[in-house]
């Protein structure tokens, strides 16, 4: 409510990125990673950032997560909490599965009984009931990402940032996790910013697909994906739009190579 009042715009924008640039290093060694990127993400939106490697999409996520500082421009998340997921699950091996999920709750000062209760619920959300006492290394790659998702959800964040979270998984597992993520995103009313270099994955999941150019990263185009959900990654609609975006991406890469 306060968001609506203060900003006075019709939609509640959760992440506002305006002319954000990021430069690494200085002087002649300076590397421009992001060049005046502008992007607005609305409450409850699923936005995919798509681009070839080196386009600065991970950099953008780090900036939104507050892990890195912007060089110029404005980035506003309105003080909302963010959670971040990586390609590797990065679970802590000294903790059990449930211990990993409980850790963010512990950091928030949630009491022992309550955080156990909450962690059990979250494991149910990611469909890992009964695995709480296992060690991370006893789980498969897909299951570990589910735990990482549960841990991210435990941070009780408004914005979920995902950096190629399914990039290291086989196609079958990835497909299943797409369904799960879509379900959780709707149930939990999350806002998701999802980085990938897989065009079909982006079209399968996103409300919008933001195409970024390489070195420096710039927004080339903002595709709205209107196909009804749930979508299938191998459906004709998804494939068709993916082909369109791929062509656009290819043209960009070719332009860049010359």
């Amino acid at each position: 409510m306060s968001i609506l009042e203060t900003s006075g715009v019709r939609t509640a924008s959760v992440v506002r990125i305006e002319n954000v640039s990021k430069t690494y290093g200085s002087g002649s060694n300076a590397l421009l990673a992001l060049d005046r990127v502008s992007l607005d993400v609305q409450q409850g939106e699923f936005v995919c950032l798509l681009g070839a490697s080196g386009c600065g999409k991970s950099t953008l996520l780090s900036l939104v997560a507050g892990l890195d500082k912007i060089s110029s421009g404005t980035l506003d998340t309105g003080g909302r909490k963010v959670a971040l997921m990586f390609q590797e699950a990065a679970l802590f091996p000294w903790l059990s599965v449930i211990g990993n999920v409980e850790l963010p709750l512990r950091m928030q000062g949630v009491g022992k009984a309550e955080r156990r209760q909450r962690a059990l619920e979250l494991l149910e959300v990611v469909r890992l009931e009964g695995f709480g006492d296992k060690r991370p290394h006893e789980l498969s790659g897909g299951m570990r990402q589910r735990v990482a998702l549960a841990r991210a959800l435990a941070q009780d964040a408004d914005i979920l940032l995902m950096d190629e979270p399914f990039g290291a998984l086989d196609a079958m597992t990835r497909d299943i996790l797409h369904d799960e993520l879509e379900r959780i995103w709707r149930e939990q009313n999350l806002t998701v910013l999802f980085v990938t270099h897989n065009v079909r994955e982006a079209v399968r999941l996103g409300d919008r697909v933001i195409l970024l150019s390489s070195r420096p990263g710039r927004v080339i185009e903002d595709f709205a994906i209107k196909h009804p959900r749930p979508r299938r990654i191998d459906s004709p609609e998804v494939s068709g739009q993916a082909a369109e975006i791929t062509d656009r991406l290819r043209a960009e890469v070719a332009r860049h190579a010359n």
Partner: protein, 317 residues
Amino acid sequence: MPTEPAPMKYAGARAGLEGALGAEGGPGPEPQKIKKPGYEEVSGLDALDLAPKQDKDRLGPRIWRSAWPKLLAILIVLLAWEIAYLSGWKPSYVFPSPAETFKTLGDLVTTADFWGGVRLTMTRAITGFALAVAIGTVIGAAVSRFAPLRAAIGSLITGLQTMPSIMWFPLAILLFQLGEQAIMFVVVIGAAPSVANGLISGIDYVPRTWLRVGQVMGMKGFARYRHLILPASLPSFVSGLKQGWAFSWRSLMAGELLVIVPGTISVGVRMQNARDLSDTPLVISYILVVLVIGILIDQLFNLADNALRKRWGLTGS
């Protein structure tokens, strides 16, 4: 479909079918389940990705399998020793036979005096090591926390590690005379750098993604150390402890031979006495005793290390 799980090698072939079944949860037959206790609830793709539970052999054959190469090695050493003895390389009062030595050793370990000596030596070893761990941990934590301190003494710590501990004794004796403190000084200065280095490298090599995860979770200050940095550096710290123990044990033995504290009859003192009496079998017996103690303690550290690796899933199986 077979009711028994397929061998893990070929698991991939079945993964597709079961994954599809398990995920969509549609009508039809129940998804195949792995018939192993504790894994019943797992179905579909993930079940096949789980690490196979290793079948445990019976204890007897397992012990035998790991023991026979060691026994054989001991047998070969004894044989070589016996041959050297029989060849008349040295007079028998200087170089005793294995049989004579083991008889001496057998007599030795049945005396209360001997165990008194072992107790004294072990008390010194454990006290010195504990002190070294405490000091090493504080130094290691401080060095990894403050950059100027690292620049100042980081390389010095590694330098100290390479110093032969016997070099410290003349100084220790001048500083503390022939007393317990002289021995403790050398034991601590020998072991603390290894402990500190283990902790420093553990902290240095905490994976970057773990640090980022911690940062996103809002870990700061003490909580960050308590919940992330210290547990993450544990494996390296344990190997530092193990190395530190080896150094402190060596320093202690050198100390007991060199610094004879009046009224204390430690293992080192007894060994020195045996040499003064030209009692070679007794000298060799003490060498064997020190060797066995060293091996036993090393095994304890290995046990801890392996337990940790297993818990973390670092074993390369």
